[in-house]
Symmetry: C2
């Protein structure tokens, strides 16, 4: 399993991904799922992957080699496309190519071709954008109404984002909320695990403002988890008792 | 979809269930999912249901008529069984009977026979117990290590229970935590909806201490939701900024 979240607020973009892969609980490993394609001053693109590891890795290898755009005949990579929309189309086409290479045979063996990706970033003077790209290569985009997208195991970490993330949330609060959302997922799902990779990019900076990996026992993340648990405990204890239970219990 | 949670702590049992059923988002309805079988002073049994509505309703009807115990030849109901373990076996046998009646034909039509139940309560001098019973009729039981069980859509509401519920949690805190867990699920999943049914039973009381339905706009539940949202907001804002983001953001 996997948990990746992308949050696109007024001031910029936060991308967070865990690194655990598993084929059964007895076969777990660490693989980077958050990838950065950066040419400072020109473009900052981040790609987070979930689903079948062989499919994700093949997509990344093909993206690195470049694939031909059927309309123009040109070989494109994430370093050559001229807009984030074209970047999303390129990733979608690459996923389709991998489906043709491996997915059809996988399905014949009753395996699911279940790759999903988050693509966030900004190119030149274009808008900063955040897309979720599906196994069929189609994509949806985050908007001011729905400023975050999740892939992998979204449910444990969704309630805090639903409550707290808005378009005008500051970038550092968005980062903290993303980490809390990750913590909730880590606590409840063994398929999601440390280290955690983070990229934060301010709007129009055209470079990563923060690139960081949270390792096991990193003091700040441990402190965040402890403070959050303590605050939740205090919060539920401070809520008055239900009037209908006051006398009976 | 459905969300039901059962919490068995030192002082007693909390059962909470929503009432929304849906066959697609354009066909929603309200059905009670939390049922009480009570003979005060002798037994208090509660049954919460998730999954296919026709299967749940057929199980309840059969349980009410009673079904024959193949070992003793006697017709049993939840009012006649002599222990909670026998009650769990009776519910399991009843689910198997409904599978034979309807489930086999459902599967021929590519429908899943996906009924799951929570059975909690106490009979006479026996222990208070909480079971989760699966579509195959087999069951697991809550223990002091894992004092809560969830059916339906468990993920949104699991993090708060994972963090806060322990065997020595008081009964009224367990009720509040169950309601917070329900609120998180309501906020993130349209398939779960008000009214919410609650039963709380103190250990050895052999009757329901609280039986209550939370309707839309009930002031206490609205207040709990508001306080919880406000506390979460204050909690994440009070967490210091990550040191690695301090300068950059």
């Amino acid at each position: 399993m996997t948990y990746c979240v992308g949050i696109l607020v007024q001031d910029g973009l936060v991308m967070i991904a865990d690194t655990r892969t598993n084929a059964g609980v007895d076969n777990i490993a660490t693989f980077r799922k958050l990838h950065v394609f950066e040419k400072p001053g020109e473009r900052l693109i981040t790609l987070a992957t979930a689903g079948n590891l062989s499919a994700s890795q093949s997509v990344l290898s093909l993206l690195s080699d470049g694939i031909e755009n059927p309309e123009t005949g040109e070989v494109e990579t994430l370093f050559t496309v001229s807009s984030m929309f074209k970047a999303a189309q390129l990733v979608g086409r690459t996923i389709r190519r991998v489906y043709e290479m491996d997915g059809i045979e996988m399905e014949k063996r009753n395996m699911t071709f279940d790759v999903t990706m988050l693509l966030g970033g900004q190119i030149g003077r274009g808008q900063m954008r955040l897309y979720q790209i599906y196994a069929a290569g189609n994509a949806i985009e985050a908007t001011t109404d729905t400023p975050f997208l999740q892939i992998g195991e979204p449910k444990y970490g969704k309630p805090i984002l639903d409550r707290a993330i808005a378009h005008d949330t500051s970038l550092v609060e968005a980062l903290k909320l993303g980490l809390i959302s990750m913590d909730s997922t880590l606590k409840s799902n063994l398929g999601v695990g440390l280290p955690i990779d983070i990229v934060v990019a301010k709007r129009d900076a055209l470079k990563a403002s923060v690139t960081y990996r949270i390792q096991e026992d990193e003091p700040y993340f441990r402190d965040l988890r402890d403070r959050w648990s303590a605050a939740l405990r205090a919060a539920h204890q401070a809520i008055p008792h239900p009037p209908y239970a006051e006398e009976a219990l």
